[in-house]
Structures are given as structure tokens and as C-alpha cells.
């Protein structure tokens, strides 16, 4: 009745386990939580839905050791309850942010022979966030993308996607990662649907209901009527939209886009930037690499990569202050953006 969605260390080095189970009622959910607490003996429990409900539930569930538990509850489709259990070394119940790091990169280094491409890169990104990874050419963006997609494997450092370590549990990590590559990855001679089916099979999606799923994915990007067309007949903007629809087909929790607007005209660029921001608002953890400052909004999270190191990590507005991002970027990296 319970399935473990993921478990592992979160960004505060707390052990987290996320469990999904069926519960028709709040009481059912409570019992589920109690069983879970008995099983895992956590110091802190988060069950999320709404803060008010959390407070009420918090009163009713006590940790076996007598410590109060912090709770929030989240009900997704139907009567599914999703619970997050966290245990911190030394009990840091004060962790204000209940959300877990969907994407975690820690102390990642990589070198090509003598050239240090990445040096001790660390960052974490929570769900429901749009993060722009900005860097001039040669800053190490491509290396980072290759490491995140497991084309390269770093001798040092750790990458975790949706809580799964890319090295120890590559299958579960990759199952939670959607990627839009910079280079075209579509078979031009095949139709949109054939391309989507191929991808679905690569990810082991069930064939039953697949066509409906493909239609829904295309429809979200207003591409539904293109399903039967050969990719070769689509323009660049449509191809990118198709690649985006495809990257979301297996419902990943982390979406990685590697300079996705290269070669697109202004309208297509704006459309795809807007759409991906919407996806982030809907809960996806988005990492968008670019060297174009005008694709970054003031409210976006910004990571600046320069010469293989993280130069800045924060909300764009706070990093730049009143200076326009392009000026700030030019000043700090010496590169035109």
C-alpha cells in the first residue's frame, strides 16, 4: 500500500524518504503516517497539503520518542497521499524549507587532460523552480550537461536527481530527468509520433495508453495536430517544442535544457522561454543553460558559471541589484552576452 518514491540525503544532509500511499480520508492518511513513523522513527516528519491542516495534524502525531513532529500534507490526484519523512543529524527541525532538493550537485570536478573544465561545482535546486545557468562559451556548461546526462562520469563529486544518486542508482535518477539537448536529436524522416514512441520505449513506458499520453504531451505545446507529420517538414520552433514535449513524456521531476533557443527566431524563443517558466511554476525543477542574458528573468534563480566555477548563485535581482544582468555579466566574466 506504500511505495517509496525516493530516498537519500537532501541538501541539508538530512536523510529523506518520500512515500506515496492510498488514503481515502484524513484519518487514513494519519494512520499511514503513524505506520511510517513507527517504521522509520524519524525526528521530523513533513506531510504537506496546506499549512492550516499541517498545524492540526502536527498536534495529533507525536514522534515515538515524545518529540513533536512537524507535519505538512499534500494530496495529489484522487486519494493519493504523499508523505515526506526527514531525519536530520542533530535534529535541525528548524529547516524552514520543507521542499527537497530535486537536483543536487556537490563538489563536482572534471578535467580534460590538463584542462580543468569544472572545479568543485556545488548547487542544489528545489522543485518548482526555474534556474538559469548562465556562462560564457567555454565556461563549462557543456561539461556540466554531459555529466548531468551521464555521458561523462566525474571522478569526483556527486549528482543526485530527485534524490537518486546518478552513480549509485543511475536508472532511477535518469527516469526522473528530462533533457532537451542543444544538438538536434530528432529523426527527421520519421513522424512526430514515431519519434515520441521511440523515446517512450527507451524509457520503458507502457504501451497501453501511450498514444493518449503522446497526444496529451503534444497538446500541451499546441502540437497535437502535427503528430502525423514528418519532423523534416516542421520548422525549427516546432521541432524544439516537439523535443520539449518529448522530454516531458515520462513525467520527469527535473528538466534540463541545454541552450534550447539556439537557432530559433525571436517569437519562437519567447514562446519556449515562457512555456518552460510555466512548467517550473507547475512544480518542475528546471535547469536552463544559456549564454543569453535576455532569457533570464529578474525573479529567476541564477547560477553563473565562469571558468569552471560557480561565480554567483542566487535570485537574479539580488545578484545584480540595479545593474542590468547583461552589464553585470560582462563586468564579471569579461564576456559579451
Amino acid at each position: 500500500m506504500q511505495t517509496i518514491l525516493r530516498e537519500g540525503l537532501d541538501r541539508d544532509q538530512g536523510f529523506r524518504r518520500e512515500v506515496q500511499g492510498y488514503a481515502d480520508t484524513a484519518d487514513g492518511m494519519l494512520r499511514l503516517t503513524e505506520a511510517l513513523i513507527a517504521e522509520t522513527r524519524p525526528a521530523t516528519v513533513f506531510v504537506t497539503r496546506a499549512p492550516s491542516e499541517a498545524a492540526r495534524l502536527a498536534d495529533r502525531i507525536m514522534h515515538p520518542a515524545g518529540q513533536p513532529a512537524v507535519l505538512r500534507a499534500e494530496a495529489s490526484e484522487g486519494c493519493l497521499a504523499r508523505l515526506v519523512v526527514a531525519r536530520y543529524p542533530g535534529q535541525g527541525a528548524g529547516q524552514q524549507e520543507g521542499e527537497m532538493a530535486e537536483l543536487e550537485v556537490r563538489d563536482l570536478s572534471y578535467r580534460y587532460g590538463a584542462k580543468q573544465a569544472l572545479e568543485a561545482v556545488s548547487f542544489t535546486r528545489p522543485e518548482g523552480s526555474f534556474c538559469a545557468l548562465l556562462g560564457p562559451n567555454g565556461a563549462g556548461k557543456s561539461t556540466l550537461v554531459a555529466l548531468l546526462t551521464r555521458l561523462l562520469v566525474a571522478p569526483e563529486g556527486r549528482i543526485a536527481i530527485a534524490g537518486h544518486d546518478l552513480e549509485q542508482a543511475p536508472r532511477r535518477a535518469l527516469a526522473n530527468l528530462g533533457v532537451v539537448f542543444q544538438q538536434p536529436t530528432l529523426d527527421l524522416n520519421l513522424t512526430v509520433r514515431q519519434n515520441m514512441r521511440y523515446f517512450a520505449a527507451l524509457h520503458g513506458l507502457p504501451r497501453a495508453g501511450l498514444d493518449a499520453r503522446i497526444d496529451a504531451a503534444l497538446d500541451r505545446l499546441n502540437m497535437a495536430e502535427r503528430a502525423a507529420e514528418r519532423v523534416a517538414t516542421l520548422n525549427g520552433g516546432h521541432r524544439r517544442r516537439m523535443e520539449l514535449a518529448r522530454a516531458l513524456l515520462h513525467r520527469p521531476r527535473v528538466l534540463l535544457l541545454d541552450e534550447p533557443t539556439v537557432g530559433l527566431d525571436a517569437a519562437a524563443r519567447a514562446a519556449i522561454v515562457a512555456h518552460v517558466h510555466d512548467l517550473a511554476e507547475d512544480g518542475l525543477c528546471v535547469l536552463w543553460t544559456t549564454h543569453l542574458t535576455d532569457e533570464v528573468r529578474d525573479t529567476d534563480h541564477l547560477l553563473v558559471l565562469h571558468q569552471g566555477r560557480i561565480l554567483a548563485d542566487g535570485v537574479t535581482r539580488e545578484i545584480c541589484g540595479p545593474t542590468p544582468l547583461s552589464d553585470w555579466f560582462l563586468h564579471h566574466t569579461g564576456a559579451h552576452a
Partner: protein
């Protein structure tokens, strides 16, 4: 397990669809052996006398002798082309996509090898059909019996291509591979002349040819076309395929230690 099979079917299905849509590629791959068969072999027919050697039971024309070698040549060219395209040209993008699949990398590569082999085998059959039109025929059941030999040979040569693409970064284009791999392999084999003919000019040459795994692909195909099994050729090809595939998978995968653990 269904997921594994689904991946295999999808990768092979994709190769097949791409093949169907690329008629130029198909024709180009057919023209090469046909030129050899209809021009080169016709010219050499008078110059080369062939005695009766297994698996042949009568005197045969040179055209008949050269057919298995040309079948293997189709496999060789295709294997190299498809494996190297993964590394160098537009296929790079689709390979990156392939590798984001959560299935183990060795499985993805094996499926890709089988997919490429499937296409090679189809081309060999097209070649055999055209040869038959020119009255160069084999025993009817030989066309069926040769199938496993073609698949095995295709896998071996595809794996060889993968190994080359992983190790030799200097082979920047197909021309380099042609000069340093395809031509030596093809000419230093029993594809054009039987080994005893080679021995007439030099024992060393014969030994090199006998060591060349491509010779054994050719002989495996030759015997199977006449409904016989050349066990030593089979053992050579099987062994080489296993070794090359293992090396290809290890060399291709930067996280090989991990894959060993994961199986």
C-alpha cells in the same frame, strides 16, 4: 523484462524505419558489391583458375567464388558506417538521447548493434537477389541457412566499428577508416582469393589472411550458403564477436566499473 524487449524493439524499429526512408543509402550500399561482382569478377574470370575446394563440389566461376566475400563486404561497410556515425556525425545527438534512457548502457549498445546488423543483413539479401538475377545462384536453402552467419558476422563487424570509434580518435572521417581498416581487412582475407592461392605467393601473407577475423566471416558465410558449417570459422567469429563486443561496451562506457556492478 518487457521494458528491455521494448527498448530492443524500438531501437531496431527505428533503424528499420530510417533505412526504409533512406533509399540513397540503400542504393549506394548495393552498388559497391555489384560493381565488384559484375565488373571486377568478370574481368578476373579468365585470369583466375579455381580448383575444387570445400564447400564447392564442382568447378565454379570466379563470380560464384566472390559472392560470400562481397556479402561480408556489405556487412563490413555497414558495420563501420553505422558505428562510426555514432561518434562523428549527426547521429551524435540521437546517441546522446539514447544514453539518457534509464536502461543499462550495455543493453542500449547491444540493441544498437543488432539494429545496425538487421539493416546490413537486409542489404546482403538484396545483393544476393540481384546476383541471382545475373544467374549467380546458391542452393535454395543456403539462402536461409546463411542468415545466422550474416547476423553473427554483422555483429562482429559492428562491434569492431564501435571499438575503433572508442579508441582511435584520430580517425576523423570515413576515408581514414577505409584506408586503414576496411581495405586491409578486405584484401587480406579469403574474400577475393582462396588462402591456398595466397600461399603461392607468400606463406606470411597466407598466415596473415588466416589470422584476419574477416576471413572467417567470409568462410562462415561461404559454407553456410552451401548448407555446411565451417566449425573453425564459426568459433573464430563467435570468439571475436564476444571479445570485440565486450571491449566496445567497456570502452564506450566511461562508468564501466559501475556497469559491472549493476550488470
Amino acid at each position: 523484462m518487457t521494458g528491455y524487449w521494448g527498448v530492443a524493439r524500438a531501437i531496431m524499429g527505428r533503424e528499420f524505419l530510417r533505412f526504409v526512408h533512406q533509399r540513397e543509402r540503400f542504393l549506394a550500399a548495393l552498388v559497391r558489391p555489384l560493381v565488384w561482382l559484375l565488373v571486377f569478377a568478370a574481368g578476373f574470370r579468365a585470369a583466375l583458375g579455381l580448383s575444387i575446394i570445400p564447400p564447392y563440389q564442382t568447378y565454379i566461376t570466379y563470380e560464384t567464388y566472390i559472392v560470400p566475400g562481397l556479402c561480408a563486404m556489405v556487412l563490413l561497410f555497414n558495420g563501420m558506417q553505422s558505428s562510426l556515425s555514432l561518434v562523428y556525425d549527426r547521429e551524435m545527438g540521437s546517441m546522446r538521447l539514447l544514453l539518457t534512457s534509464p536502461y543499462p548502457r550495455w543493453w542500449l549498445l547491444v540493441c544498437r548493434l543488432f539494429g545496425a546488423t538487421l539493416i546490413s543483413v537486409l542489404q546482403v539479401y538484396a545483393f544476393l537477389a540481384i546476383a541471382a538475377v545475373f544467374d549467380i545462384t546458391m542452393p535454395l536453402w543456403g539462402y536461409v541457412a546463411v542468415l545466422p552467419g550474416l547476423v553473427l558476422g554483422g555483429l562482429m563487424l559492428g562491434a569492431l566499428g564501435l571499438v575503433l570509434s572508442s579508441f582511435i580518435t584520430q580517425l576523423e572521417n570515413f576515408a581514414g577508416v577505409m584506408n586503414f581498416v576496411i581495405f586491409p581487412m578486405f584484401f587480406l582475407s579469403s574474400a577475393l582469393y582462396p588462402l591456398w592461392k595466397m600461399a603461392e605467393s607468400s606463406e606470411l601473407l597466407r598466415d596473415i589472411c588466416a589470422f584476419n577475423p574477416f576471413t572467417h566471416v567470409v568462410e562462415l558465410i561461404r559454407f553456410l550458403l552451401y548448407l555446411q558449417i565451417n566449425w573453425s570459422a564459426l568459433a573464430w567469429v563467435l570468439g571475436t564477436t564476444v571479445v570485440l563486443a565486450a571491449v566496445a561496451i567497456r570502452a564506450y562506457d566511461p562508468s564501466r566499473a559501475l556497469m559491472q556492478r549493476k550488470g
